[in-house]
């Protein structure tokens, strides 16, 4: 980080660092003596790390270029000798350092809070707390904000668009697409294994067509054994197997790797587009 970048961005960096430290201190000193506090800690752990990524995208990424346009300071900043593309590359590179350090701090704080909450119990950390994945999501958010700022050229507007786009992106990737990032494993007539990621479940008829559980419930009401062939009602309706599509627990690390790789590629692509747009505008000037 150069002296100039530090002078311009120190407010954001210091404020974010202070907030991360404050949140970590509060969570780690909580006295977990009642359901309200435990529930609060659980909610903070679930939404804390994604909220940090949203803050970086909306408050660091979006205003980076949009602000220069809105306040017309770009007229002084960028010239033939100091092109906008170079300015963007340097500013982004400088800001990546505090982003990485703070994400690291958020990750450690979340893990310690998790230990604090569960005490001595042996546990696995949640899927999203894998450090490379968290880093990739934060950097992709930052890149998204930068691109939106370049395109919208208005601070409040670009912050709003970034907020919506990033929340939609995280939701689609984390909830909708995640189980399908690798082709799932199909189990026939088996109970769901512990810790596996559930993808889909239902029944198969003789021809191998899939039937949903609710459709089967309408035909044969009640609890059914896992092995479909043992249930007379199911057999009478031509249902031969129950099926379960899952991602087994030993594949979760591969899934994380694929997801992190996707976010990294996205981040690079978004920054490249922002750079190209600025370069085109430069040629026009």
């Amino acid at each position: 980080m150069t002296w100039l970048t530090w002078r311009v961005e120190r407010g954001k960096v210091l404020a974010a660092a202070a907030l991360v430290l404050l949140a970590a201190a509060v969570l780690l000193t909580l006295n977990m003596d009642g359901p309200v506090v435990v529930m609060g800690a659980r909610i903070a752990l679930t939404i804390g790390p994604p909220a940090f990524a949203v803050v970086v995208a909306v408050f660091w990424g979006a205003p980076l270029v949009a602000r220069e346009y809105e306040q017309r300071t770009y007229l002084f900043l960028w010239s033939r000798d100091r092109p906008a593309t170079r300015w963007l590359a340097l500013r982004v590179a400088h800001l990546l350092l505090p982003i990485v350090v703070l994400t690291f701090a958020v990750n450690i704080a979340a893990r310690l809070t998790f230990d604090h909450m569960l005490g001595m119990a042996v546990h696995e950390y949640p899927y999203d707390l894998w450090l490379p994945l968290e880093l990739a999501t934060v950097i992709a958010g930052f890149a998204l904000g930068v691109l939106v700022g370049v395109l919208a050229r208005n601070v409040v507007l670009s912050m709003g668009i970034t907020l919506i786009a990033y929340v939609v992106l995280r939701f689609v990737v984390g909830v909708v697409a995640r189980p399908y990032l690798l082709p799932p494993v199909r189990l026939l007539d088996q109970v769901r294994p512990m810790d596996a990621l559930f993808v889909a479940g239902g029944y198969l008829d003789r021809d191998g067509h899939e039937l949903t559980t609710s459709a089967v419930q309408q035909m044969c009401i009640g609890q059914h054994p896992v092995i479909a062939a043992q249930d007379p009602c199911l057999v009478a309706r031509g249902i031969t197997h129950s099926f379960l599509d899952i991602q087994p627990v030993d594949r979760l690390s591969d899934l994380r790797l694929v997801e992190s790789g996707g976010y990294v590629v996205l981040a690079v692509a978004l920054l490249a587009v922002a750079w190209l747009v600025l370069r085109r505008r430069e040629f026009r000037r």
Partner: protein, 302 residues
């Protein structure tokens, strides 16, 4: 004035309004499906009852009900409230906007009235639909988070007054800091701190009732009461930390004979709800006064 306000703020207004419409659609569709299940199970016996028939839907309903109010008020605070004055100051347009024919008080009053109207227009229907949904889920008997104390924050007046608080907080921070980005960030931070503080402490605003049980006995909770805290007591009545690897006998040998349960009984729910409404109301009035005083002072100087 109305036309100008609309032209200047239409992106933020349309954005938040679109979010609210989406949310209202989701809540209304949940309400429809829960009422349908309730009606169907009322007419003929449902397998396992309406609560079981709802199945996987319950946690989604819980999630939407928990998140809609904090997110709406947060968006209003950061995107409507914070930039309102800070933008005028930062871009120095206030010098033009508050000219001789429009006094600053009138300018601020006009903007505030319009935005307050918009907040009410968006938050009141949402609050009503969500409360109807809570009551429908309760009727179904589903085991969601719809106990009386768990839905304290969903009583219709509270989401509305929280959204108003968001707006006023944003405007006040903008008037004090006068820089858009700083005001938006500070508003977000203050808003989160206030919301978290209130929702984690509200059950302690009235001294809870302490129920004592001999160590090892199952504690019977009064129906629909909220648990504030639990723990062990020594003979002198002081709360103690449970030692690791200590069974019931060993606890008694160390003089720890009772466990306690601090609860808020159901009959205090109304009082606590009103206390929360009043707390937010007082903050709204205080922050509005602060903003007004600040804006008047600015123009006298400059």
């Amino acid at each position: 004035m109305i036309w100008l306000t609309w032209r200047q703020h239409r992106a933020e207004l349309i954005g938040v309004a679109a979010f609210v419409v989406l949310l209202a659609t989701v809540l209304a569709s949940y309400l429809g499906s829960v009422q349908e299940v309730n009606a169907a199970c009322g007419q003929h016996e449902c397998w396992g009852g309406a609560g079981v028939a709802l199945g996987d839907q319950v946690w989604r309903i819980d999630l939407v009900l928990t998140l809609f109010s904090p997110v709406l008020a947060g968006l209003v605070a950061v995107f409507w409230g914070a930039p309102l004055l800070s933008r005028e100051y930062e871009q120095r347009t206030y010098l033009v906007a508050w000219g001789q024919d429009v006094s600053p008080a009138r300018w601020l009053g006009g903007r505030a009235a319009l935005l307050t109207g918009a907040v009410l227009l968006l938050s009141v229907p949402l609050a009503v639909i969500s409360w109807l949904l809570v009551e429908a889920v309760r009727t179904s008997g589903a085991r969601g988070n719809t106990g009386p104390y768990q839905t304290l924050d969903l009583w219709p007046a509270i989401p509305v007054v929280q959204a108003l608080f968001g707006l006023v907080l944003g405007v006040a921070v903008g008037a004090l800091l006068r820089r858009t980005l700083v005001a938006m960030g500070t508003t977000l931070a203050v808003y989160v701190v206030v919301r978290v503080t209130i929702s984690t402490t509200v059950l302690r605003w009235l001294p809870p009732q302490r129920l004592l049980f001999p160590v090892g006995q199952l504690s019977a909770l009064p129906p629909d009461a909220a648990v504030v805290s639990t723990g062990l007591l020594d003979d002198a009545g002081n709360p103690v930390v449970a030692p690791y690897d200590c069974d019931q006998q060993c606890l008694i040998e160390r003089g720890i004979r009772h466990s306690y349960l601090d609860v808020q009984p159901l009959d205090r729910l109304d009082l606590l709800t009103w206390l929360e409404v009043i707390a937010y109301g007082l903050m709204v009035v205080g922050l509005a006064w602060l903003t007004w005083a600040r804006v008047r002072r600015t123009t006298r100087v400059g």
